[in-house]
């Protein structure tokens, strides 16, 4: 039995010669953009950026047309256009993240996560006080809003996709209209419907209710899209095995859509976690840790950031950036946790 040794290879990858051509093309593009910026009135980073992509796309079109055919050139041209689109999205995002990390780290100190602002004012030296009250406040606001919105949002989506009752059209219209409600209107609604006539005081719960108004349409719409993707075969199989519609939805449809429903939840949280306007109107924004959402002013990270920037001293602005950094990290932790718990198989 003879055996020849076959080495695994990837014939679809570019050959060294093709690589060299691409590198040369890139070099020529750099030179072109340099020349164009030098010789024309266009100046600055933005000019380099756009001239570079324009020239690169054009050269790729010519290269593709020569080495293969015109259609291949067009294919390469649009690859570069898409690269441009991606860069246009990534650069501002990366810039925002970089700025927040760079400026925020100056406000980091040992007591930041363990103390509140009860005995400090924003213009005190940066090591006085911290934002424990804002972190606990934001977590409570989001958690309570989530506990209210998630069931309502998903049940709404189930009504729209599974029951398809007579109110499907008006409800879908209402959900779409609600997702366009400006956040300050949600705050004003809670202010005028709950705080002034009933509770007559600020509270975390009022803030959560305002956030709920913003969160429900996001969750409901995303969940509806996700549930619509579940093949009808599965619903029929469940019912054909003698399940009622409710058992089929609960045991087959929802578990099959679990990962997408978690995405819906994450998008809902993302919608509200940095909301500032409704929070300003209804939570009162306290400076000490308050773990009771039903009474008393409750601080939160957006409120803290807003207040710090408003005061405008050097120290308070550093506090604001630190607050932003903490908010970003908190969101990152929450989303990673949700993904982790969501994709792990439940036993």
């Amino acid at each position: 039995m003879s055996q020849t040794i076959v080495k695994p290879s990837r014939p679809w990858l570019p050959s060294p010669r093709e690589r060299a051509t691409d590198l040369g093309l890139l070099l020529v593009t750099f030179l072109t953009s340099y020349a164009v910026v030098e010789l024309t009135p266009m100046k600055g980073k933005l000019a380099y950026f756009f001239v570079f992509f324009f020239a690169f796309a054009l050269y790729s079109l010519i290269k593709g047309s020569i080495t293969r055919d015109f259609m291949n050139g067009v294919d390469q041209f649009f690859s570069i256009v898409m690269l441009l689109g991606m860069t246009l999205v990534i650069i501002p995002t990366a810039d925002i993240l970089y700025t927040v990390f760079d400026k925020g780290r100056k406000g980091i100190h040992s007591g930041l996560l363990t103390t509140d602002m009860g005995l400090a004012t924003p213009s005190d030296p940066i090591t006085n006080g911290g934002l424990l009250h804002a972190i606990t406040g934001t977590l409570i606001l989001v958690l309570v809003a989530l506990l209210i919105s998630l069931p309502i949002g998903i049940l709404t989506a189930l009504y729209l996709t599974e029951i398809k009752g007579g109110f499907t059209r008006p409800i879908r219209f209402l959900v779409q209209a609600m997702s366009g409600v400006p956040s300050i209107v949600a705050g004003l609604f809670i202010l005028s419907s709950i705080i002034y006539p009933i509770t007559k005081s600020y509270s975390g719960l009022a803030g959560s209710l305002a956030l709920t108004i913003l969160m429900i349409p996001t969750i409901a719409r995303t969940a509806e899209e996700v549930l619509n993707l579940i093949p009808n075969d599965l619903r029929e199989a469940g019912v054909a095995l003698g399940g009622t519609q409710w058992r089929t939805v609960a045991m087959v449809v929802v578990p099959a859509a679990r990962s997408g429903l978690i995405t819906a939840m994450i998008l809902g949280v993302a919608r509200i976690v940095g909301e500032t306007a409704p929070i300003l109107l209804v939570t009162g924004g306290g400076d000490t840790v308050n773990l009771d959402p039903t009474s008393g002013a409750m601080g939160s990270l957006p409120f803290y950031i807003w207040k710090s920037f408003l005061i405008g001293t050097e120290e308070s602005i550093a506090r604001g950036w630190a607050g932003l950094l903490v908010l970003l990290v908190l969101v990152l932790i929450l989303f990673t946790l949700a993904r982790f718990l969501g994709t792990r198989r439940m036993k």
């Binding site: 469940g238 019912v239 095995l241 399940g243 009622t244 087959v252 578990p255």
Partner: protein, 279 residues
């Protein structure tokens, strides 16, 4: 091309290879003047057919002749399609399943169904898929492991999956998935099993396995199978019904023991179809 005589010989061999109706399985399923509509479209007209307990009946006919519509009226899946309507009676052991006040979920427990495309539940393991009917219908069973094994053995899948019952149903091949769906349908112990082109998406090997499964299952239940494959109808069925839509709604043209349909069809249209002259 297939000649009628070769089909007939396969059919008679299949029929003589086993005996029919050895157990008391009720008196089977009967339809009386069944019509079906989708909105204004009259899809099926006046089908009266008897399915004796413990027999295998094949429904054949060209595409769009109402076979699938008909089989879906037999366990009340037809009503899931928006705008669907029907007329007539479907009698299980002499009782109309469309009688008002009937618990539909109980009917579907007694009349199971296997679909054209394998559709195991993606969120469940192989084992959970087999037992999913018990959970869906909230049935009690103290010997779940035994039941799971029994169903997988009867569906001809046990040897292939016994070491990986905790793997996901989607990790199986198409033919294995379809046998998993058969095992799942068996777990709630139906009297009647409806199969809507169960092999149309499968390779010949998997098809053969499923045909063997059908033959074994027919000892204990009544089976109705829609198929486009006439050799399959000849191999597995005791009776065959030919459906045809000739411009208007689909109708049942002829029903007879399978060997007779393939050798001495009474209707010219049946003869044309089984000899491959159209369809």
């Amino acid at each position: 091309m297939t000649t009628p005589s070769s089909l007939a010989s396969v059919a008679s061999a299949a029929a003589s290879a086993r005996k029919v109706g050895t157990k008391s399985l009720g008196i089977g399923l009967e339809t009386r003047g069944v019509h079906a509509w989708f909105g204004k479209h009259h899809a099926l007209a006046n089908v009266t057919l008897d399915f004796a307990a413990g027999t295998v009946t094949a429904l054949i006919g060209p595409s769009g002749c109402g076979k699938s519509t008909f089989i879906r009226t037999l366990n009340r899946m037809h009503e899931f399609i928006p705008g669907a309507a029907m007329a007539g009676e479907v009698l299980l052991d002499g009782v109309d399943i469309y009688e008002s006040g009937t618990d539909v979920t109980k009917i579907r427990l007694k009349i199971g169904m296997v679909f054209q495309k394998p559709n195991p539940f993606p969120s469940m393991t192989i084992g959970e898929n087999v037992l999913s009917g018990l959970k869906l219908a909230q049935l009690k069973n103290s010997q779940k492991d035994e039941l799971m094994q029994e169903c997988l053995v009867r569906a001809g899948l046990w040897n292939e999956v016994k070491d990986r019952l905790n793997a996901h149903g989607g990790s199986l091949s198409g033919g294995q998935q379809q046998r998993l769906c058969i095992a799942r349908a068996l777990a709630v112990n139906p009297q009647v099993l409806l199969m809507d082109e169960p092999c149309s998406a499968l390779d010949p090997g998997s098809t053969l396995r499923i045909e063997e499964t059908i033959k074994e299952l027919s000892e204990t239940m009544t089976i109705i199978i829609v198929t486009h494959n006439m050799q399959q109808a000849a191999r597995v069925s005791d009776f065959t019904a030919f459906f045809l839509a000739d411009g208007g709604p689909g109708e049942m043209i002829e029903t007879a023991p399978t060997s007779q349909i393939f050798t001495q069809p009474q209707d010219k249209r049946t003869e044309n179809y089984v000899t491959g002259r159209f369809g």
